[in-house]
Symmetry: D2
Subunit: 436 residues, 4 copies
Amino acid sequence: MAKGALKLAIIGGGSSYTPELVEGVLKRLDRLPVKEIHFVDVEAGKEKLDIIAHLAQRMIDKVGADIKLTASMDRKAAIAGADFVMTQFRVGGLQARANDERIPLKYDVIGQETTGPGGFAKALRTIPVILGICKDIEALAPNAWMLNFTNPAGLVTEAVQKYSKVKTIGLCNVPVSMTMMIAEMMACQSDELTLEYAGLNHLLWAHRAWLNGEDITAQVLEKVGDGANFSMKNIFEEPWEPEFLQALGAIPCPYHRYFYQTEAMLAEEKASAEQGGTRAEQVMVTEQELFELYQNPELDEKPEQLEQRGGAYYSDASLNLVDAIYNNRNTINVVNTRNNGTMHFLPDDAVIECSAVVGSAGARPIGVGKLGPAVTGLIHQVKAYEQLTVEAAVHGDYDSALMALVNNPLVPDITKAKAILDDILRTNYDYLPQFR
Amino acid sequence: MAKGALKLAIIGGGSSYTPELVEGVLKRLDRLPVKEIHFVDVEAGKEKLDIIAHLAQRMIDKVGADIKLTASMDRKAAIAGADFVMTQFRVGGLQARANDERIPLKYDVIGQETTGPGGFAKALRTIPVILGICKDIEALAPNAWMLNFTNPAGLVTEAVQKYSKVKTIGLCNVPVSMTMMIAEMMACQSDELTLEYAGLNHLLWAHRAWLNGEDITAQVLEKVGDGANFSMKNIFEEPWEPEFLQALGAIPCPYHRYFYQTEAMLAEEKASAEQGGTRAEQVMVTEQELFELYQNPELDEKPEQLEQRGGAYYSDASLNLVDAIYNNRNTINVVNTRNNGTMHFLPDDAVIECSAVVGSAGARPIGVGKLGPAVTGLIHQVKAYEQLTVEAAVHGDYDSALMALVNNPLVPDITKAKAILDDILRTNYDYLPQFR
Amino acid sequence: MAKGALKLAIIGGGSSYTPELVEGVLKRLDRLPVKEIHFVDVEAGKEKLDIIAHLAQRMIDKVGADIKLTASMDRKAAIAGADFVMTQFRVGGLQARANDERIPLKYDVIGQETTGPGGFAKALRTIPVILGICKDIEALAPNAWMLNFTNPAGLVTEAVQKYSKVKTIGLCNVPVSMTMMIAEMMACQSDELTLEYAGLNHLLWAHRAWLNGEDITAQVLEKVGDGANFSMKNIFEEPWEPEFLQALGAIPCPYHRYFYQTEAMLAEEKASAEQGGTRAEQVMVTEQELFELYQNPELDEKPEQLEQRGGAYYSDASLNLVDAIYNNRNTINVVNTRNNGTMHFLPDDAVIECSAVVGSAGARPIGVGKLGPAVTGLIHQVKAYEQLTVEAAVHGDYDSALMALVNNPLVPDITKAKAILDDILRTNYDYLPQFR
Amino acid sequence: MAKGALKLAIIGGGSSYTPELVEGVLKRLDRLPVKEIHFVDVEAGKEKLDIIAHLAQRMIDKVGADIKLTASMDRKAAIAGADFVMTQFRVGGLQARANDERIPLKYDVIGQETTGPGGFAKALRTIPVILGICKDIEALAPNAWMLNFTNPAGLVTEAVQKYSKVKTIGLCNVPVSMTMMIAEMMACQSDELTLEYAGLNHLLWAHRAWLNGEDITAQVLEKVGDGANFSMKNIFEEPWEPEFLQALGAIPCPYHRYFYQTEAMLAEEKASAEQGGTRAEQVMVTEQELFELYQNPELDEKPEQLEQRGGAYYSDASLNLVDAIYNNRNTINVVNTRNNGTMHFLPDDAVIECSAVVGSAGARPIGVGKLGPAVTGLIHQVKAYEQLTVEAAVHGDYDSALMALVNNPLVPDITKAKAILDDILRTNYDYLPQFR
């Protein structure tokens, strides 16, 4: 990567999150000599893209940064010569997400955009698009790093690792949020903590936690059981049963509620869907408000309201990765990367989420030793679902798709799996050319 | 093992299945020089034991075999000097089984005596007893082989492998039944088939099937999907969906219905429980009828009605093992034995069910290569449940017990897991000293 | 495979061993309906091929078997429609073998045709030829089994497994010879023994031995240490040190002498080379004598003198495999086949030598559990040499070739490795087109 | 570990290296609040210990540090309440080392104090002593970290991991020296490099090297082949063959010369032994000179001559570890630690040397993915030797000892292994109570 001048390509630049990313870049100009940012989006998102681009330009102008900003529909131009390609797009937009949430509910199954059948549907739509982006990167920016935030981030990253040559790291704001919340609970700085993270995206545990060399896992679990804040904005905060946390012996991520507290989460989702609307439907409203704000020509910084949107630490997580790679910092980040034996019971080419050392050579996972049966079975079950989903998404293979849903722990049996799958394929027909 | 004179100890000799076992011994006297059989049972089973002993004596007398038959409550005497110890007892009898079936149903969860929470409860009751038997074997017959049929056979065998030095093989009549049914479908002899079996007890697949070198897996799956007989007497024969079987690509065992057709099986169980009674309650009736038959002093052979009881091939499966070990036949049997790397993603000391070569050195599993994600996730999830159950049963550890049920795929979430666990511990209080 | 009519293609039909193979076929006509045998050889071996063909025809005629015998240079015709292709050719003939034995001796390194640099040179010559044969099989007899006896059998089989689709099993007469010698020592029938074989070709141990269920490993080792016959005709019988055998705790194969008794074996080889000639040079004499015998028009059976040649049980080992596959016997044979996790520390696609169940679906290895450090290091070191040799042989890659020899435990260091490699490449120039 | 006051116990405090360690402590007082240092040594080393203690006191006084220094024979007092126990002792002193170097040479085998039979003898002497120290730590300072520099560091650390509960990390100055030399070659800062280290102690490769994201492995190998400085003071710098380095494709450590350039290194050792004496005999002279210097009451800093002794970066490597643990820095250090699946083909409880993240929770290895056959065989062979050596050293088991040497790649065969073993046991009789 050339020293002294960085180009970032932002795929899905019209996202409401983008101002946070711009803010993150501007805060790090001493470390990251960003000279060019290219936002790209699809035709349907043109209006949002323009709003974002104008706001971003105002933010850049405010600090007087020497950054050339471009916004266009031209993906190839965006990617050509980029050092980092950051992907945060959403195929089908929020309406597709609303479908992902509502279809499973029809069958009394959790409807969520990243886990369960909803995440499955999103993966089917997203993977062919991301592999198209990878082809462009291979041709036009073969040394670029692709940092992927598009959900389901683990699945998407696994598809990229298996079916392209692009250097990639998948990223999520869950682990950094967990770390910050644990630091808050323990009233310490986050860098005083050592957290042994390993699992899959949105199925991540901190298996052990240390504060200054002392094992505090049990203490953290007790605090979480006592109701300490340990959730994300976009997940219903069903309280954790203290006895269960003690039996588990590892710190679950907020998304684990879908797997461990299934019936309560389902009940809440169904109530929400009937009342305020699914999460996607709520976000549509928030988004509209945000874009109204963004249009204000006086606004030249990220508005506070964005934080309500749910992507806490999103910008920090992503730009810290850029910093770690560009400056070979070899810092520890929790990322989605190739397993390579870290969890010996999963294939080497599976993508896992774990603590990794990130530097100019990419992400190298930190060993976790043998994990116990309290977690290995669930990890393997979900990874099996993910492996099958990647095959289904890439090859448009119905058998793999059916077996994927059959293996998803949130889907009770094959009858429901088949019904939901057929509904997903029907509803998403326009976005699933590989199945035609 | 001394050549020329074998002693068999039958723990749970008062079982209604015992006449089939006696018949099996008498059919094999040319190969197996059985000189002594000792039935042992607990006080509560004394009456049944006597009936069985008299019938068995009449069967022996009929063929004029030179076998000394003893029936007693003296387990140590039975075990002392035995060459084979065969375990087929049921702690708590059929009433405990009925509880195992009914408790989960209260929570809308599959109630079955070998899988799900029912099998879990049975394991908690059985494992301490079997480890007591192992202590006797270690002291009084250290070279004996223990052949275990007591369900859940895989879990019980794993406990024995981990917590005793007794040489053991766990056995089930499911695989031999599957083989016979496939042979019937294909209109061939069973020894013309090669079936690549691997999984866990009651979670067993034939991953590939060959007939004279030709891969017939797809053909068998098609026949099963078309309604060919592929079930066991004691399981409701919910039909298999052909599309699912094709997607699975491996031949499931009848018990897979609990995992793959959960809602239909649950509905059937609930209906049965309300109408004819649970399976245990039905068996109580059959048993009574059988024991009435057995008491007939004219009866000197296994009555045909026993076959309705559901244990087809039970005698053949067990005595073929005795034959293979005693005569070093190195035949292929499907047994429960130490994993030892056969399924690389499971611990070496996990007990699996797979095709194995059985001879005088015991059972040695046959390699299966890499299994795919259509099955690995489920196998690992269920094995995690089993590992935790063994720890719970041996140590009376509540945390392990809770995590075991949380990991059981038939239990939807932690709320139900906890409710069911507490109910099981309460209901089985007398049989679970380790939890007091 | 068609029932009722088998065709065998024998590649290298002009070998002096062929009469034994023919005898083996004629002994098994009740089980193996062989209707056609096609011997094929290269131009340079035409004279020998004719002699063998005439002798074979006389043998067939003697028993009046209904077998069509063909001998030709036409490899494609031989392979077309064959059920079994048996490979026993020698690229470069005995002269090349003599070079393999003499080159290393120049550098004070073991010169042997299957292990060490000699086996390496033979692999470089053989692998391209066998892959050519495989192409013919893929095109002309895609369902045929290739049974490979060509040394180094493990290496050659690994190349076939990795670089062709042909169904193959590699075979050696060492394990069957070990079994027969152990049976002789223990004065028992070979089928009373259970021998846990695992290792690589010519680096094979019986890790444990049982006789009727009793572990006799220590007894066998004591007898071997006391001088019981435990060698092959073609290896110098350097006596084993009893203390070493006890420390090893596993029964080594005769070829282990090269690795464990290196200096004594080297000294003997050097003395032989100066006096009677290397093994190849001695065999040239034996061969000439054999072929003189074979030409005798009165001779219509395998002459006794063939047994001096060193290939004891060669015919039985190979035709028992044909029988096991054709008749789905599922017998235990020790073969070279895909590792598939049997030795977890080796790659899945490595070819190992181990006890396997052989039937119509091919060879399935029997698990051996964890092997200890007394053997794992050596196995892995030699397998690393083999992996590199396969790459070198297939791609003509000098770097892999050099690293192969560097990793061979019989080559002391890189200086010698390079000198020997360059000598081998020079001397075998005509046979190594891939390196040009 | 208490914040604000650290106690260091230095076992083998009378070592000539100790002044460097003291200097390292004094340089880091801003980060490491060392308040107490306790040197301990054995009776025979009392004189040297006194000299070192006086010098250390002068060094402390010079900078006016508030550190209480104690020197005694009282190991328990030294250990009690220590935060870090640093072990750098030498059982039998330099005379024993001279024996380790000379005994193998008698048999034409490499004589070196850390690899080959010399390192083996040192392990036999050292392991019982270190396990005694561990008992003291378990009793008197259970939270202390033991940082072990005593050679053979990998073997000693493995014994501690397997046979004690002490938290330990093994350390060597080879990797840091390699990094510094590579930085010098590439004219860059060491923190610009990413070096993927993995192997065993003194058998360590940098498998890949990156400079600012660019793979520079081939460049480094070319420079090493061209004669760039890449050796340690205490190893003869036999030049590397460029063709070999290219074929290897990984950067070897200086000690690899013993394995890859065996005959040249042996020749050099034999010449040295006859002329200037073995390395130990040369060091005896250097040591005497150093201790004369140390006695100079004017001297109040580490004298430059110490650097000739061969322990470059020794102090930095060790105190950077103390810093990383005490201050939870999570920096990357190359250490000896539990494998835990990092190299999947080695047991989980093997100790390996690799890049690891070191913080207050100890060392966590960084994944290396699959290593290729160019290195895996040798690593496994040497680790097998090490596993057997640990067993031999702990249990005084002759069989394990013999198999250890048989598996050491520097020992040509069992005849030599046995001769050398018997010589070692005889010569070291006083130091090997476990073998009596």
